[in-house]
């Protein structure tokens, strides 16, 4: 019943711009969702702790790393809760030793961002290996993909224009016409699929996401 009412309300709010409806909609989307997230975050942190404690207890493969995960969690939580976000808003815990600062913003800038950038940079290597796999012309589709990619790559560099003058325009055409047509076809399906899934949930036909049968 809650899903039915809130689902219909969400759909109604899409077509009613009146501030009364909008404010309720925004409250539901922002405030209520934020409160639920805060509560579920507690469960999430509980899950991390439980998961790593089990690994330590069972001496699972690479279990010492679980100690690092738990210690990192505790230290960053302590700094975040009691050490303040940055020097401009200090907490009750000192977060610097001489010129070395380890407040939350410093941890984020000097640990999280470089680590995330490193993972992101791996994408370049994975792209190369995926491209190698995709471009092996095993069948007609892969061959077409190879040809299209070759034209696009060659069309994007000055050498392409030097070799065949209309190549960049042809590459642009591939990108804007057949590629966009295929993308739009997929988008239509996605749009209708989204509405159908929402309807099934609102009407209570689909209950799998609640843990019930379909």
């Amino acid at each position: 019943m809650i899903v039915l009412v809130l689902g219909i309300f969400g759909a109604v709010a899409f077509v009613i711009p009146h501030p009364i409806v909008k404010s309720i909609d925004e409250t539901m989307r922002n405030d209520v969702l934020r409160i639920i997230t805060a509560f579920s975050l507690v469960l999430g942190v509980g899950s991390i702790i439980q998961h790593h404690l089990i690994k330590i207890r069972r001496k699972a493969e690479h279990w010492p790393f679980s100690y690092i995960a738990l210690i990192s969690l505790a230290v960053s939580a302590a700094i975040g809760l009691f050490g303040g976000i940055d020097p401009a808003s200090p907490g009750i815990l000192p977060t610097h030793i001489g010129g070395f600062s380890f407040h939350m913003q410093a941890l984020y800038d000097n640990i999280m961002i470089p680590l995330a950038s490193t993972m992101f940079a791996l994408l370049a290597f994975f792209m190369a290996s995926a491209a190698y796999r995709a471009f092996r012309a095993r069948n007609l589709e892969a061959t077409l993909l190879l040809i299209a990619a070759f034209i696009l790559m060659l069309g994007a560099v000055p050498l392409g224009r030097m070799l065949i003058r209309p190549l960049p325009d042809f590459a642009e055409w591939i990108l804007t016409v057949p590629n966009t047509a295929a993308k739009r076809g997929i988008m239509f399906g996605i749009g209708l699929g989204s509405i159908a899934t929402s309807l099934k949930i609102i009407l209570g036909i689909e209950r799998g996401w609640l843990g019930g049968g379909g």
């Binding site: 009613i16 711009p17 501030p19 579920s40 209708l192 699929g193 989204s194 899934t197 799998g208």
Partner: protein, 363 residues
Amino acid sequence: MTLSLSLIFLLSSLSPPTDVIARDKPNDSGGAILLTWTRSSDTTVVSYRVLRQTEGKATWDTVGLAGRLANRFTDDEVQDGIRYRYQILTVSETETAESAPSEYTVCSPQWFNFDRMPAVIGTIIFTCLIVFFIGRAKRNIKLFIRRIAGLDAVEEALGRATEMGRGILYVPGLSSIDDVATIASMNILGEVAKKTAKFGTPLIVPLRDPIVYTVAREVVKESYTAAGRADAFNQDMVFYVTDQQFAFAAAVDGIMVREKPATNFFIGMFWAESLILAETGATTGAIQIAGTDAVSQLPFFITACDYTLIGEELYAASAYLSREPLLLGAIKGQDYSKLLILVLIVVSTILALTANLPVQNIF
């Protein structure tokens, strides 16, 4: 002084804009007035300045500037229920010219956004089609659904994992629960969990969003209960990792390399980490089934995974796997809606093309 001002006025050759109309901006939540005018015919116009006067006050305030080609302006710094009127000032390099003031107008919020009427009509037609086909499914009329290779492979992938004595990794995307792709993924997770419960295959579900974590845990728990294997459910099967995108990708990569699951499911919403996950999974030799509605990530999954559910197949998956007649009816409705859209596109294209052809001369 008066004489000099009169002389300036007489010498001014700049023509002001005409037909200045102020009206409540339609289809909005109030607090906005829409102004339209007929542009000055003068070629020396540089811009237009919009002036506003509140009823009962003598002063005119400048509320905005518009380019020389503009003929409309929205004043969204007004209050509902207060009457305002406007003047447009034509500005050239050397002089200005004022239009006649508009009528007083007042803005108010609307109860219906008529701009969204086509979406409403489309949704109503779509809903009717779905309800019609659900009705047919209820009457046990057999509905044909085309084969989806990626979903047919689920059973095979689970069987392989069971034979090899290895686990199954299920990543339901990185988005939150308000994303339809995540909900669709939860539906598929339910079906996959029923099968892993039946075969006794270990299931690993790492999660990025805390709300999705709580939902996924309940889905898996209920599926194990529905399969009659509530005792086999382990709290540690479904666990929260982190909400940081690349930290999550690193954690899942680590799980794939260490645990070497026989099958990896990447189903839901993914961003840049899609290829990092799928390529790492490919190096471990696992069967990989991916599904996403993120169009930009589809090529990566198609390249690196054995099977990929493209766009709408993701939403159809739970019906396909469960073979629930009511859910299949909804898919049928979806298919007919697509057919309707296709027909509309073809007809519109023909009309658009013939509109520019001299066919009128034939008759």
